[in-house]
Symmetry: D2
Subunit: 446 residues, 4 copies
Amino acid sequence: MCAIVGVINSADAAKTAYYALFAMQHRGQEASGISSCDNDGIIRTIKNRGLVTEVFNKDSFEILKGRMAIGHNRYATAGSDSLLDAQPVAANYALGSISIVHNGNLIDKDKTRQELIQNGAIFASNMDTENIIHLIAQHKSHSLKDRILYALNNITGAYCLLIQSRTKVFAIRDKYGVRPLSIGKLKDGGYIVASETCAFDLVDAEFIRDVKPGEMITFEYGKDGFKSEQIFTPDPRICAFEYIYFARPDSIIDGKNVYDVRKNMGRVLAKKSKTKADFVIPVPDSGVAAALGYAQESGLAFEAAIVRNHYVGRTFIEPTQELRNLKVKLKLNPMHSVLQGKSVIVIDDSIVRGTTSKKIVELLRHAGVKEIHFKVACPELKYPERYGIDTPSFEELISANKNIEQVRKYIGADSLEFLSIDELTSAIGNERKYSLVSFDGDYFIK
Amino acid sequence: MCAIVGVINSADAAKTAYYALFAMQHRGQEASGISSCDNDGIIRTIKNRGLVTEVFNKDSFEILKGRMAIGHNRYATAGSDSLLDAQPVAANYALGSISIVHNGNLIDKDKTRQELIQNGAIFASNMDTENIIHLIAQHKSHSLKDRILYALNNITGAYCLLIQSRTKVFAIRDKYGVRPLSIGKLKDGGYIVASETCAFDLVDAEFIRDVKPGEMITFEYGKDGFKSEQIFTPDPRICAFEYIYFARPDSIIDGKNVYDVRKNMGRVLAKKSKTKADFVIPVPDSGVAAALGYAQESGLAFEAAIVRNHYVGRTFIEPTQELRNLKVKLKLNPMHSVLQGKSVIVIDDSIVRGTTSKKIVELLRHAGVKEIHFKVACPELKYPERYGIDTPSFEELISANKNIEQVRKYIGADSLEFLSIDELTSAIGNERKYSLVSFDGDYFIK
Amino acid sequence: MCAIVGVINSADAAKTAYYALFAMQHRGQEASGISSCDNDGIIRTIKNRGLVTEVFNKDSFEILKGRMAIGHNRYATAGSDSLLDAQPVAANYALGSISIVHNGNLIDKDKTRQELIQNGAIFASNMDTENIIHLIAQHKSHSLKDRILYALNNITGAYCLLIQSRTKVFAIRDKYGVRPLSIGKLKDGGYIVASETCAFDLVDAEFIRDVKPGEMITFEYGKDGFKSEQIFTPDPRICAFEYIYFARPDSIIDGKNVYDVRKNMGRVLAKKSKTKADFVIPVPDSGVAAALGYAQESGLAFEAAIVRNHYVGRTFIEPTQELRNLKVKLKLNPMHSVLQGKSVIVIDDSIVRGTTSKKIVELLRHAGVKEIHFKVACPELKYPERYGIDTPSFEELISANKNIEQVRKYIGADSLEFLSIDELTSAIGNERKYSLVSFDGDYFIK
Amino acid sequence: MCAIVGVINSADAAKTAYYALFAMQHRGQEASGISSCDNDGIIRTIKNRGLVTEVFNKDSFEILKGRMAIGHNRYATAGSDSLLDAQPVAANYALGSISIVHNGNLIDKDKTRQELIQNGAIFASNMDTENIIHLIAQHKSHSLKDRILYALNNITGAYCLLIQSRTKVFAIRDKYGVRPLSIGKLKDGGYIVASETCAFDLVDAEFIRDVKPGEMITFEYGKDGFKSEQIFTPDPRICAFEYIYFARPDSIIDGKNVYDVRKNMGRVLAKKSKTKADFVIPVPDSGVAAALGYAQESGLAFEAAIVRNHYVGRTFIEPTQELRNLKVKLKLNPMHSVLQGKSVIVIDDSIVRGTTSKKIVELLRHAGVKEIHFKVACPELKYPERYGIDTPSFEELISANKNIEQVRKYIGADSLEFLSIDELTSAIGNERKYSLVSFDGDYFIK
């Protein structure tokens, strides 16, 4: 789960990429990187564990000083504990230097990796991005574009890719368009490509359009504009999770404002609900937009009755024995004076393992809440996502193993309600298809 | 502007102080410190620039391992750029070791400092806290309490003090009670004293009562309970600013929940306002509670239409020339799709210099807002506060130099409304007196 | 120019490798690394820029906890400024995990690299070590040994290699034995292989024997002893530079103690010299042993009249304009009171660019020396070494461009004398052949 | 045990102080600091734990940019583990700002401290330097010089002091001249005062003269030259330990070159010794000069048979159980091939606790030495020094508790010889008196 950015034909390209990554950084990113191709044709990369504000300093931009740059933000996930798993991935190969960033997931990656390895390739990391770079390197064409097409024809999965050579940046979105990718125009005439349009706002870029499913956009050093090629027949299935919880609320994905969609999910929840309560409270910040929608639809008051502490960092000092539930409490504090003796509707965006929801319910009970009606602005999460969102395995997904009543008992709420799959799609908009694998198990990319 | 904490007769006192400081840390603190008195009677102090999560690590608590501890968080302010200006201030003096933390401001500090210096004292820092420790050191009594009383009788100002000796912790609040200070009871029988009650929630402490204006509370090592003495005749004047913007919304100050008070301020604003608009938006996070109150009172919708980025850190990479207004934009992004063509009521807690408000208005205009009605949940800030809140000088306070219409023009809003002083006090509660110097210039401590 | 170590079948193998690297670290190493294979069969690597004491800490050895480990120390050289150029190089390939360290230089590396790249390989660094790992990965055998032999048959150059798999460590020395490699036995029954025997002293290992030119030694996890195979017909040509300046004086290389050899070089210099002088002084620390030999042979007094400061670190504060020659002066200070008005014989191990020698002569003149007779314990350096010692190019080697009289004038000495090539080999021992390319230009590996 | 420096009326004074401290830094300094008075009259101080190369960076000299500076290097000692114990000590007092550095030790410091404390002073550190600054602050004169004289008249002990005000630097040496202090002239016309003359060599300063025992030198901002006043009747007793081991060998103390004196100590040892041996070896680096003197006098060969590793840093990775004597072995490695079967004379500068000597003897035995004749270039250390050298207490000084034969047995040597006190003074030069308290217990400052 990550964010990518490319900046082309712009002064201080790496700096603009830095600010774009900064704007898209809202989930405690564990690794960040930028590579830039200088006028000398050498691609230089700086990447490390940590937020962009931790990885980069003034000196970084003395090194990354070209007019092209690509960058990457990785969200903290299990299993990728290594510095080597930071992107961009850069390498020397037959046609010179190249660097790649990837948002998404290749579903046949282990098979391809094994084939590549049996064929003599070596892998330095666990990232499927290395598959792509090996496929590009192994093809024999003198044209990087041909090599990229060869690579794309030999991978299956969800991907938005940015590929930087000495003279070009390619932006590619898979035919389903599972992950978002948009093009913006910078004030100095250059272009920016980014996972989330909120990046454009910070760097004063004008939104041009989305990269289309199955499209390859080519930017060339020193040339104005860009070239579009439809390299795969589109079969759009944007990931519903981008709307549900991954994107920032101020991003626009394939024409739809995320905040509006989330409010709509809350409205749909309210429409079907008969729950009586004193007011609605969100789990901050994930449930805020849906809770506002719920409140507006139901006419109930919205109260910001759980306060979130944003200073939670990496350092963890083991607490004294007395302090229970510390991890959730460090972040969230329900206000006793507001909640004491009340019936409340609590809105969150999803329930994954159920452990956090359970702790929130405990904290609310401790704060004196009388009735807790927990409402979730998406359907039950029954299947692991495999297209770039790191949802856990079947064993860990609570709704894969318990029905709604069992989940309710586990988390300790007085009632529990989810959106149905149809309600979800109607809330986003029924004119298109979505990737809904986590809810319906229809793994359409195999 | 800071937060203080003391923990007494509790295992891992310093750790509990750490978590309490963590809970009260919500304004980018620039310096943090804790000192703890071990069983060997030696007071050890760790302090440095930075948030508590930056200053302390696991090893810190190997050093700070007594059953008493006091701690301090300093909010970023001008002029205190030195490590030496971190607290606690610790020293050896005639009766042994001592350490002090101070929240507030001594108004006669320069005169006292000069007198002390002329008398032969040396000062290592610019903190007025050093005055207090010198006064304690120079008195000749064998009783620390007598020395403290002597010091208190020779200073004027607003203060909450925690003073730790080998065997005792004294908690003192000035006779006006300008700054808040509350007592809680820990689960293991120990006590905690803290500036804000939100600290109690995190460490599972039960709120006992506030320290009263003019009261000195004495905790003794190994003795249960605490002793109370009314050392000054109380003349309560709690600082209105604690309610307006300094305290965390989940704190309770002298019996009043801050979130409720802020919502009330919004309600009062709404009651007097005739403004028509499509919806109400807060400046996050400072204006959220008042905006909710305004929305509830007015019946207008509340929209979280400005998104705040919480990852703004210390490192500042100079942006490209193209990026204007970067400092505010790094934090705040208004949603175009929500705001385009709308009339909005924007709520913030206060206007100080006016520069941030001006930039917010610009960002909103850029996002397509048609009409911007800026409403402020406190009166015009016309006088520098001198009792512990670091408001700037007359020259910098925009409302000290411009009337409402001129301020409106400067920030570029279509209309601008403040609370009156009476409305403010009625919103907090008219049964008591408040420190309102910033609004009325009544410097009651001279 | 580097040092390598392998530890096999020993508890805390990585820690032992760390101490061995520490012992061999005497030239401001710029990068250090260790990889260890744990019982789980996973090879973990920690490497970074800096001395071993900077790269490793207590936590490192929680990660590197297997009973096998290989390590690497790189001496500061031009052109390898990247973190990626640190070793060990680790990769996943067809037979699992592998890591490699390499001391030496492949002379056909660019050609091989181009062939590999044309064949589809990608390179992440500029190290020739990557060639070897690619050759191993591309061979099709199920036997790692066969793959290694294939790789060795497709590279040309000077190398000592340690290759670690899940179950084995291979130690290989090229047929010329240009670089040294020795086997030692640890007290707990395990083995250590290292570039320099001084490593054995620190870790209490007993010297067993040298790895022979053209020999491959195989250590197997859990099996006692080791297997020897002569994989190439030996043609020994140990590098004379190891004796001249690279090895620590307390190392024994192919049976000869380095300190003794260096003293011998000084003796040979003295035997042919007719120079009269008050005493002999070394350039510390490089010329100490030769100067002692010279003094003992000539009967002249040895004086430690140049004091070396060992605290020169990385941080470089630009000096004031007044301070000339600072870089050399930071390290070396001649004692005026000892040197004033004297005729001295100055001994150093070699003259490379001549710039340092020139500055030393200036410092000695400034200290009042009357006559400076500069004597060098090796022949004129006329050809770039290409087998692992990073000597500079023809253009930079002063003796490639100037005769002795011209060099003398350049450095400003009153006389200048070198060893002849024959004198050098007789000083080391004429029973064997040596790699002497820097002196005679006989590039026997092509 | 420390080094001090002052630079006056010179551009980049702090930088010159930095290099001077660097030159004098040869014992793993644990704390370093410089304070500089800028044209604005404000004294700024940067100090921290660590070597100067660790404490200062480029930015430091943006802050310390005046034409006057004083600096301090503290040698690692027991008991001063705090950052607060770094110097310079700076303070604001009645006449403005002041900073002080101190080399030496006040013997009545606890009494004075108690008096000051009883009088109302507070102490932030454990340094006796704070006594001096308090005495200066408490006097009532408008003349800093009068205050300094008052302070000096109220302390007893060994001291070299540098005191910096807004306009002056005072350099003061106690009447015994126990610690050294010399004046040099910089190339740009400014002056430098330093503990060791080796500092002058690095910064291209010309030695002018020593500060005399009992003399106060006054440098004034913007005025050429300096003023001398004999403020105490001199009674010279320079500390013998400066010659024995503390100073760098290239320093000149009160007219005598340290290297020459140390060689002389070795010569005197040789003259009285009848020991037969194969050669002489020093304990590096402390015993080198004396060993050279011994070798020259005795006609025995000098061999650098123990190799010292200079890369020992702070980080300590706990070794495996197998590695015995690690701390000494990390630093020193005797060469087996040179030592095997030999009779050797080992020279060191002193024996303090005996533990290091014992381990060196063990290492030599392990290297196969047949006979070890340990000779010490100073008398038996029977009394704790109290005048600025941190020798341990009676209990820890081996020669305070054992006679020579017992010490020999303890360290395991075949013979052991010390200089007598008379031999020591004759080696330094009998025309003057020395501070010899460690040897004869004559504590002449009480």
